[in-house]
């Protein structure tokens, strides 16, 4: 079975994250779209995955032995599409069509876009699909790993908890869930809307290998994600503590940037702050 390797000329994760943050800001601004806060909080996670972890071949996106990445928080498409463009799945110029009439680059992630494994956007769907992929990969003996990125608010969905119960029971060590734990969901803080605490303890009690880190620490992220499959034989969850709107001072930890798109002025300020 074909097993893609990591790309040869990989940028440093921090540089990659800076680029995709800039693309996402411009895309959301141009399209007057939403969800920039959740895009920025997960930028460093995507950067580490796509420069250091995932064995993918943009020239052969459906190679059977590839690693899988399932974006379950399907609303954060701008940064996802930017990541795939930076990796060469399609040209950067195509990002300009984001959310435009007739574009395949829809506001919730679409499998029409090369490199996207599954369309999501209704929350609570990604993890069960990722579990199925991990089961199939184990059965095929391909050595593929499956990474699934959840949002914190998404952890309200019961379908996730069905999967969280299932994966350790079946010792799916080739599965890794990353939670972008930025503490703000659609209409308020996680603590106010539906508190997840004690979050790590919940996963532990379900039998997961639980890691908790600063989700903007690319060195720690690389170390943990490289350790999949865990020697413990259990599925891994990385609870990544992040900042909603990370990198742009006026967006950080602000609920409104779940929805708003920046004006011309604010875009310029945001780009300046992230060094683009």
């Amino acid at each position: 079975m074909t097993r893609p390797t990591l790309p040869a000329n990989r940028p440093e994760p921090k540089e990659f994250a800076r680029r995709i943050r800039a693309h996402a800001l411009r895309m959301v601004h141009a399209a007057k779209a939403s969800h920039i806060g959740g895009c920025l909080s997960m930028a460093d996670i995507l950067a580490v995955l796509y420069t250091r972890i995932l064995r993918l071949d943009p020239a052969e996106p459906h190679s059977p032995g590839r690693d899988r990445f399932v974006l379950s928080k399907g609303h954060t498409t701008a940064i996802m599409y930017a990541t795939l463009a930076e990796c060469g799945f399609f040209s950067l110029a195509e990002l300009d069509t984001y959310c435009r009439d007739g574009s395949i680059f829809t506001g919730h992630v679409s499998h029409a876009v090369p490199g996207v494994e599954v369309s999501t956007g209704s929350l609570g769907h990604g993890l069960p699909i990722a579990i199925g992929m991990a089961l199939a990969a184990r059965s095929a003996g391909a050595g593929s790993r499956v990474f699934c990125l959840l949002s914190d608010g998404e952890c309200d969905e019961g379908s996730n908890w069905e999967g969280i119960l299932f994966a350790p029971h079946h010792k799916l060590s080739n599965l890794c869930v990353i939670v972008d734990f930025n503490k703000i969901q659609s209409f308020g803080s996680v603590a106010e809307v539906l508190n997840l605490d004690p979050f790590a303890e919940k996963w532990k009690s379900f039998g997961w290998q639980v890691e908790e880190i600063d989700g903007h620490d690319v060195v720690a992220l690389e170390r943990l994600l490289s350790a999949v499959p865990a020697p413990s034989g259990r599925p891994t969850v990385v609870i990544a503590h992040t900042v909603k709107g990370k990198g742009v001072s006026f967006m950080e930890n602000k609920l409104e940037w779940h929805y708003r798109s920046p004006s011309d002025e604010l875009l310029a300020q945001a780009l300046a702050e992230i060094g683009a």
Binding site: G124, P128, I131, G132, A134, A136, L165
Partner: protein, 307 residues
């Protein structure tokens, strides 16, 4: 039907190593032969239909053909959005198999009656819907969907239904169970046996009544159905399902644009909103729903009298 299904699936799985079966902790005394023969491709996922449907999509998107199995409303309505988004939107090769069509779990009460499932499932894009009336149709439909590479829904009953007709040539085509041109009863599912009894009764009263099993609701072969009812002065649809969204809706919709067509009388189960269901066998509940053989005969005679 359940046994025929699992035998047919086992046969298909022995020929195709990519076939998997997942169940939602149901199928006692039915699924064991498959589990014993293909332990690597069988999984009881627990009472968790949303996870089962999403997982099935993930396995299918990795190149497999995945059957998911449970009772009536559980692998269908319970995880409808997973079937819509994860399975059908991706064209994933997932087959939803529901046992307990209509009133098959009669005495268990309304929660276990599958009365809206076929209509709801038929609204999903890109899925094929099979409602077989007898073991022969189950066998043919199972073989077909195992090889189709498309999302499918297979709606099974659960009793020892007898074969109602000759061998099935093509499960996507309507199958003539009894020849007759004056009145043609189009039936889906095991209730076709009541259509045959009613046709016999009407024959004794001088009526010529044909019975056609329409086991494939989607894609509905409307050209073949049109041919089967060409000389009829009355079409009757009969289903163990509410009329909305099921066989009646699909047939009536297919014929709506025809310039000349016979009237269509729909016989099905009345919608039950806000009413409690009583205990009883499938047969008793069908009778109570106005679908006894005598009631079917009477309603056909009334429709004929109105013409």
């Amino acid at each position: 039907m359940r046994t025929t299904f699992i035998e047919s699936l086992s046969q298909a799985a022995s020929e195709n190593p990519d076939i998997w079966l997942l169940c939602g902790d149901l199928g006692y005394s039915v699924l064991e032969p498959f589990a014993a023969k293909f332990p690597e491709r069988y999984l009881n996922v627990g009472v968790a239909e949303q996870n089962m449907a999403g997982m099935a999509a993930g396995i299918a998107l990795s190149g497999k053909t995945v059957f998911i199995y449970s009772i009536g409303n559980f692998p269908t309505l319970r995880c409808l959005e997973q079937l819509r988004n994860d399975v059908c939107y991706h064209g994933a090769d997932v087959k939803v198999v529901a046992v307990g069509a209509g009133y098959a779990y009669g005495g268990q009460g309304y929660t276990h009656h599958a009365l809206e499932d076929a209509g709801i499932m038929s609204m999903l894009p890109g899925i094929e819907i099979f409602v077989p009336c007898d073991p022969m149709e189950v066998r043919a439909a199972t073989r077909l969907i195992a090889a189709s590479r498309k999302p499918s829904y297979l709606r099974l009953s659960r009793q020892g239904e007898p074969d109602l007709g000759a061998a099935v040539a093509d499960p996507r085509k309507p199958r003539i169970l009894r020849a007759g041109q004056e009145v043609v009863i189009l039936a889906s599912g095991p209730i076709a046996s009541r259509a045959l009894e009613a046709a016999g009764e009407l024959a004794g009263r001088g009526r010529e009544v044909g019975v056609v099993s329409v086991s494939c609701l989607k894609p509905l072969d409307d050209a073949a159905i049109r041919a089967a009812v060409r000389d009829a002065s009355l079409i009757v649809t009969l289903e163990e399902h509410i009329l909305r969204g099921g066989l009646f809706s699909l047939v009536a919709g297919a014929f709506a644009g025809d310039a000349q067509r016979p009237p269509v009388t729909g016989l099905g189960i009345p919608e039950q909103g806000g009413k409690t269901s009583s205990a009883g066998s499938r047969e008793a509940l069908l009778d109570a729903a106005g679908l006894s053989v005598q009631a079917i005969v009477a309603r056909i005679e009334q429709s004929l009298a109105k013409r």
